[in-house]
């Protein structure tokens, strides 16, 4: 029965060749440090799923943001878990991305023919920091407000365009409702879209070229 269904589907979807290309490929024998990339991907999926769940209750306005986060934490069933996973997942994401990158540098994995994989990786690192910075404001508590005030003020230091950057980030001279709406938009639309595109290219390259092998002393 199962065979029949899979045959029927394969005839129409061609899933078997996809499966073979992605999963049934040979890879060099590697150590545990090579799991950092997939762990980062897992953290990203975790962030996406819990993030989507959070948007069901979260309201991105200064009047209600704080109350809605409180509501999620105390009233929504398993809300504390969703928010906890998202909160600590963010830290895990940053940590894993950096460790993954350090591993790549250590083994020289960014070298020919994986340069493009590295470039997309650096892009992903920046996006992950962007997520961390934009998501920090959303709970609209004291820490969120003041850390973002200071964080955006730091951007103002940039020569020539500093003031413009500050205004663009805050949506005005002060940190207001506009800033919150802006950060929310960036956090849930702009950054995820970019993230998905870059992860797509990154994974495509990893599968196409294959993971690097652990270099020997002579290499």
């Amino acid at each position: 029965m199962v065979t029949q269904i899979s045959e029927w589907l394969d005839e129409r979807l061609g899933w078997r060749s996809v499966w073979e290309t992605i999963f049934l490929r040979k890879v060099p024998k590697v150590n545990w440090s090579y799991t950092l990339g997939s762990a980062t991907l897992f953290a990203a999926v975790n962030q996406a799923v819990t993030g989507i769940l959070l948007t069901i209750y979260y309201v991105p306005s200064p009047d209600q943001a704080y109350a809605s986060v409180q509501y999620i934490t105390t009233q929504v069933p398993a809300g504390w878990l969703i928010r906890g996973l998202h909160h600590y997942g963010a830290s895990a994401m940053i940590l894993l991305t950096v460790l993954h990158m350090v591993r790549v540098i250590f083994y020289g994995s960014y070298k020919y023919p994986r340069e493009m994989t590295w470039f997309t990786g650096v892009g992903l690192l920046l996006i992950v920091f962007g997520f961390g910075f934009s998501g920090y404001l959303l709970p609209w508590d004291q820490k969120a407000f003041w850390a973002t005030t200071v964080g955006t003020r730091i951007a103002e230091v940039t020569p020539l365009v500093g003031d413009a950057i500050l205004r663009i980030m805050r949506g005005g001279k002060e940190l207001t409702a506009i800033t919150l709406a802006r950060f929310f938009g960036v956090h849930v639309w702009f950054l995820p879209a970019t993230l998905i595109i870059l992860i797509g290219i990154h994974l495509y390259l990893v599968i196409r070229i294959g993971i690097s092998s652990v270099p020997t002393r002579e290499e």
């Binding site: 490929r25 040979k26 890879v27 090579y34 953290a43 906890g84 020289g108 004291q142 407000f145 230091v157």
Partner: protein, 699 residues
């Protein structure tokens, strides 16, 4: 890499793959294990720690010390090493270069070698960078105020960590002479808030003690913390503290409690630290806690610093007061006693006080709580209060701070300076005690009292300052701040605010007075006297504002004068009176100004007369002591010229050679300035000097 090397790489990689494993299930299994562990870790964190949520954002609360999330904190720390204009290097240049190098890594490190030992440069740079970032993160967390429970019951240290450490770091060094209590209570410059809004006065005392003697705070927590709370003991009576420290369970408060004799268990330096913590060596505070009960807000003292130090440390009977019952009626003494208990309630006693008491006591009233006691002291005179031997009680640091403050305050405390400025600029409209009254500028309007507890509690210093500085043109109050064209600079405004604040403890006015509102006077001279004369002088001679007798006014048309009054001058403290007065009233004023400026011919200053001018000053300022206590006598022309141990004190025509001139100027080589409470008004001094210059005639 050339084609040859590329081919070699592929061949090697192909071999690795053949020797290798399948992605599914071998490698994916490892991935799954790690991801699962990660997921479990996240759930445990969410369950046992939980995502933090602080108070709701409050944009008005600038006291909050912002700290970024841990992964940005290294950047935050980096910023600290690039202060001021170098900031751009720390936050923009370094991170940008780091990111660019990172992105371009495959283009920079292009060799075929992959093993880390063959790429020491790049692996080394990476390692250094990681160590740097980790190090900065660790330093940032170490420098951060530690959590409260880390203080083992040292509540003051916790208070400090919570409120001060965010900006000031683990310790603050202050220059001697800083009035810490006031500075903390009132805040300073941008960023430092007025803590009196959040902390009690006792807590501020404790903080000042902690800042000046952190070791003392530690000792307090270890030795006294079990029974006492720091903020209940700070700024208490040093005599009591000294006893408690020296007498062990023999001290009355420690009776029956197993309290060690602290002088046995603590080294002398430790005891000094402890006392310095409990009573911070903060001159202003020491004075207000220990000296103000007898001496009022400050002591008039014109001697040297070492004189003052020995006077304070020796204590004892340092001044004798005449027995006033010999020269005053009971009613007068009653009035004075009442005044001493509560100056605000008997303003009519002020002239008497100034005449009799202020030459020794200064302008500041010696404080007394009990009418009968005050009366007895005034009537009996003599050495009415024995000063404690402070040298045995205070620590050297405290003594030093107290001497420095007393000397500086002898020139007038901010409150005393503020009082003088208040009576010069404010009391015309707000009353001597801030009781308010009919608004001279607005018909039917009443100026509410500004000295009620309610008024003062609901306005912070910033508000008071800006009201004084910018005025309230809608109500006819001109701006007084020099930034708005007024006569007062910032320090002077601060002094007035300090004076106004002294009402808060003991408001002279509780309820708005019932005031008959008078109809706005319609005649030009009356309006001029109540409004314009405040700044331009009764006869238009000028004052705060410019003189109206200037010849240029003759060339100005009535129309232009009218507009000047009606529209005002935006950069000066001349407000737009057109919003308050009717055009009819302004026309009247213009006519009045025309009258006084055309007819005005100021009378020549008359010659100084001994009998009418000089003798009056001597009666008021000298004779209450010199008449009664012997020596030089200032009651008649003859005695002024001939009496005294150092006669003659007046050399006609030579004020700088006359002892009298030197003494009133404070330029004498022996003895103290006269009167001993501080110099007389500059005008009075000038009259006497002029009289001597003119030949010291008996006219």
């Amino acid at each position: 890499m050339d084609e040859q090397k590329k081919r070699e790489y592929y061949e090697k990689y192909q071999k690795d793959k053949e020797k290798g494993i399948f992605f599914f299930p071998d490698l994916l299994f490892k991935d799954a294990v790690v991801s699962l562990l990660l997921f479990v870790a996240l759930i445990l964190l969410a369950y046992f720690v939980g995502a933090p949520l602080e108070e709701q954002a409050n944009p008005a609360d600038t006291t909050y010390t912002p700290r970024p999330e841990w992964y940005f904190i290294f950047l935050f720390q980096l910023l600290k090493y690039f202060p001021g204009s170098m900031e751009v290097i720390g936050v923009i240049a370094i991170p940008t270069i780091a990111i660019l190098v990172l992105a371009a890594l495959p283009l920079l490190d292009r060799g075929p070698k992959r093993h880390f030992l063959n790429r020491k440069l790049w692996v080394g740079i990476t390692a250094l960078l990681m160590v740097g970032v980790t190090g900065l993160t660790i330093v940032a967390f170490l420098e951060a105020p530690p959590p409260f429970d880390a203080f083992r019951g040292d509540e003051t240290a916790a208070l400090y960590a919570e409120n001060c450490a965010g900006c000031h770091g683990p310790a603050i060094s202050t220059s001697s002479g800083t009035n810490l209590h006031t500075l903390i209570a009132e805040g300073e410059h941008e960023g430092m808030p007025a803590w009196s809004a959040d902390l009690t006065s006792d807590q501020i005392d404790a903080l000042a003690g902690f800042i000046l003697s952190p070791l003392g705070s530690r000792l307090f927590a270890d030795n006294c913390g079990t029974c006492h709370q720091a903020d209940q003991l700070v700024a208490s009576n040093p005599l009591e503290l000294k006893q408690a420290l020296e007498e062990g369970d023999g001290y009355s408060g420690h009776e029956g409690i197993a309290v060690p004799v602290w002088s046995d268990t603590m080294a002398p330096e430790e005891r000094t630290s402890l006392v310095n913590f409990l009573i911070a060596p903060d001159g202003q505070r020491l004075f207000s806690v220990n000296c103000a009960p007898c001496h009022g807000q400050s002591v008039g003292f014109a001697g040297t610093e070492s004189d003052l130090r020995s006077l304070i440390s020796l204590g004892g009977l340092h001044l004798a007061m005449p027995p006033w019952q010999e020269s005053m009626s009971d009613g007068e003494i009653d009035l004075l006693a009442k005044y001493v208990v509560a100056p605000a309630t008997v303003p009519e006693a002020l002239p008497e006080y100034q005449q009799l008491c202020s030459s020794c006591h200064g302008d500041r009233v010696p404080k007394s709580d009990d009418f009968d006691q005050a009366r007895e002291i005034i009537a009996g005179g003599g050495s009415h209060q024995t000063m404690p031997i402070w040298g045995n009680i205070l620590t050297p640091q405290q003594l030093e701070a107290l001497v420095a403050y007393t000397l500086s305050a002898a020139n007038g405390t901010p409150a005393a300076i503020g009082q003088a400025l208040y009576s010069q600029y404010c009391s015309a409209c707000h009353g001597d005690f801030g009781e308010g009254g009919a608004n001279p500028a607005l018909s039917g309007d009443i100026i509410a009292p500004i000295s009620t507890a309610e008024y003062l509690k609901t306005r912070d210093n910033l508000t008071l300052r800006s009201v004084i500085s910018q005025g309230q043109p809608n109500f006819g109050m001109s701006p007084f701040g020099s930034t708005s064209g007024g006569p007062l600079d910032e320090d002077e405004i601060d002094a007035i605010v300090t004076f106004i604040r002294t009402w808060e403890d003991n408001p002279p006015v509780e309820l708005p007075p019932e005031i008959q509102t008078t109809a706005m006077p319609l005649s030009g001279p009356e309006i001029y006297t109540s409004l314009c004369a405040q700044c331009h002088g009764e006869a238009g001679e000028g004052g705060i504002g410019p003189s109206l007798l200037d010849a240029s006014l003759q060339q100005t048309s009535d129309r232009e004068i009218f507009e000047s009054i009606s529209i005002g001058h935006p950069i000066t403290s001349m407000i737009a009176w057109g919003e308050i007065l009717t055009s009819d009233q302004i026309t009247q004023i213009v006519r009045h100004i025309r009258n006084i400026t055309s007819s005005e011919q100021s009378p020549p200053a008359g010659e100084v007369s001994f009998s009418t001018d000089v003798l009056m000053i001597m009666e008021a300022k000298c004779n209450m002591c010199h008449g009664l206590l012997g020596g030089w006598d200032g009651t008649t022309y003859r005695s002024v010229m001939d009496s005294g141990d150092n006669a003659p004190v007046v050399i006609p025509g030579d004020p700088e050679g006359s002892l009298l001139g030197l003494k009133i100027l404070g330029a004498q080589t022996k003895g103290t300035v006269m009167p001993p409470g501080g110099k007389m008004d500059a005008d009075d001094i000038q009259i006497i000097l002029d009289w001597i210059t003119a030949g010291a005639l008996d006219n």
